[in-house]
Symmetry: C2
Subunit: 358 residues, 2 copies
DNA sequence: ACGTCGTACGCAATCGTATGACCGCATTAA
DNA sequence: TTAATGCGGTCATACGATTGCGTACGACGT
């Protein structure tokens, strides 16, 4: 910048004013402006965001705190986050709140993150009290996405999990299912929202839930497999399972296939999230679409707004989106099991193949 | 920091020296050290990385330039990157080199990235000349991962795609396949390495490749489906297909199922990458394992090293890792097709179910 | 008694940018 | 003629930390 000033024959302050061309109380002649711009371009000038930030200006950075982004759901969310942020001229720095070295690392992540304009938290972090504490006492505004029912500490954008679970269960019941299991895929620190919704709905509908019909497993493909095997080993196994996650549901599909159980004729499966993948599993997964883009977009918008105007109300508020049921080929009436034998004879999947639209 | 100095009754420079306790030519009394540390802790001092970076010190940031991280392969790679970086005390900032708004955005991404200690490029970016140009002329060291055969401009860590493809094809040939198709899932900017390896190997082995046996599609699930349908519509369709990507392979599995083709009895499928998902598809996917963690770890190591010591040789060098064949249930001898009818009668997947170990 | 040396620390410049305070000049109003 | 005003721009300083250099002080040697 000093070089530009020298070349253009003006002072450094003038250069600064020209380059940001912000509304200033100091007028600049158009001719000078031209000269400076030219020099800047010729010298290939790039503003140094560090120096900018040092002056208290915005760094155009949004911090993302996420636990585990091998989880395809959060991977998708992060991509959305990056896209939304960049569309608004912001960059994203990753803070990894990993469970293992947890406290130490989590803390560091936040410290290093301090020079962000805002922080977006993806997923629930109730098990990381020090991180939350840091965030709470810090000066950087925080927006929480998919916080679940945790005590509201930050502005939150969330999804109506209860409505989603109910929609999935109602779909199964409409098909004629009554013995419905639930696979509760747990993320560390996550709350029990979807599981509770299941329990509440089923209690109201059928009075009680058979023992073993709710399986709690880690949110991985292998977790889904394990849970399905456990549920099918029951004396009176369910004819359908709902899962709290597509990831687990994909594991379920694999386990069912490996054990020779035809989905959907012998077992119906409902996922949750509608990952990109869900439309392309074998068979394609009936699931609940999570409006990821909308949620993240809203979150970024809010985060930036809070970052720009620190005086803005930071009192916790919550916005809730609705998931929508997407019916594909992994659910069918339990009565269909009668015709299953003849169906498989003509090649597994022939029936659904005819309706394979996505 | 000034506050600390005041509280501890020393000068701010002393505080700086104590807090970094770096090897300095200025000795500090142990007692003073204690006093300063105490004051710093009580005041909850957090160093401001901006000011640090301003003085030319390292910002402990690694920039990641990636095209599209909805691709599960890159999502996994990014997670690995974040983990490896944080294990070394670095954070990661995301630069999105999206294909659409490409040039403009790509450029911006890099500019904003300037204050990183190093940049890691994930995937090939040959179609973004301006980005490459920026990277080349910049002062920040760059390490390229999965660059393919592009002209070597940066230190590169890569995988031996040719060996991988050959291993997959040899596996199919060993099973007795001769009519083998290839689904070339293309990432924008990517080169044709895997496809070329296929063509070369098959030419040498069988003399020629039937028309239509090589399908080029975008690297998506839908791309895989489309390619499989095209290949099966040929007058003499292949008995096996290799894909350049697990993502496409999953699409293939879905399409085969939807069209009533049993995998592996009527069609063998070989993937490439060994995503986490690959072990849990229906049926589990035979594929080539990409040593993602090793590659990324090596890349981060190198990037940090280059960042720390700018005098280090930055001349392009390449390190190559070997993929390894993972045999699961999506491949079988074409002769098995004879017994396919009876096999499906007892429920699809019963056979592989018995061998469902991962 | 005076010079020397090692120890322990302070002073002040510096990085790149933003910005309030001032300044010279011309034109216009009083 | 003088003062006020507008224009076009420069000066100096601040942001928070790092770091070369200077310096005060006690101990020690001669």
């Amino acid at each position: 910048m000093r070089d530009i000033a020298a070349v253009a024959g003006v002072s450094q302050s003038t250069v600064s004013r020209v380059l940001n061309d912000a509304p200033t109380r100091v007028p600049i002649a158009a001719e000078t402006r031209e000269r400076v711009n030219l020099a800047a371009r010729r010298l290939g000038y790039r503003p140094n965001p560090l120096a900018r930030g040092l002056r208290g200006a915005s760094t155009m950075l949004i911090g993302a705190v996420v636990r585990d982004f091998s989880d395809p759901f959060f991977a998708t969310a992060i991509e959305a986050l990056a896209v939304e942020a960049m569309a608004r001229g912001y960059n994203v720095v990753l803070g990894h709140a990993h469970g293992h070295v947890d406290e130490g690392l989590a803390l560091t992540a936040v410290l290093e993150t301090r020079h962000c304009d805002a922080i977006v938290m993806l997923g629930d972090m109730q098990d990381q009290p020090r991180l939350l504490d840091d965030l709470r006492t810090g000066t950087v505004p925080v927006v929480a996405l998919w916080q679940g029912t945790s005590p509201l500490e930050f502005p939150t954008i969330d999804v109506d999990d209860k409505a989603g679970i109910v929609a999935g269960l109602q779909h199964l019941i409409d098909l004629g299912h009554e013995r419905i299991g639930f696979i509760s895929a747990r993320l560390p620190g996550d709350n029990w929202q979807r599981q509770e919704a299941f329990v509440e709905f089923m209690r109201n509908r059928f009075g009680s839930i058979p023992a073993g019909y709710v399986q709690v497993v880690p949110n991985t493909l292998a977790g889904g497999e394990e849970a399905l095997r456990a549920v099918l080993a029951l004396p009176e196994p369910p004819t359908a399972v709902a899962t709290s996650t597509d990831l687990a549901a994909v594991g379920v599909l694999h386990a069912a296939y490996s054990d020779g159980r035809n989905v959907p004729h012998e077992l119906s499966v409902v996922g949750y999230d509608d990952l990109l993948l869900a439309a392309h599993t074998v068979p394609a997964l009936t699931t609940l679409r999570m409006p990821i883009a909308e949620i993240v977009g809203e979150g970024v918008e809010l985060a930036i707004e809070l970052g720009r105007d620190p005086s803005a109300s930071r009192e916790p508020r919550r916005k809730v989106f609705e998931p929508t049921l997407i019916v594909r080929q992994s659910t069918a009436s339990p009565a269909a099991a009668i015709g299953a034998a003849s169906a498989t004879e003509s090649g597994a999947g022939a029936i659904e193949g005819a309706a394979a639209a996505v």
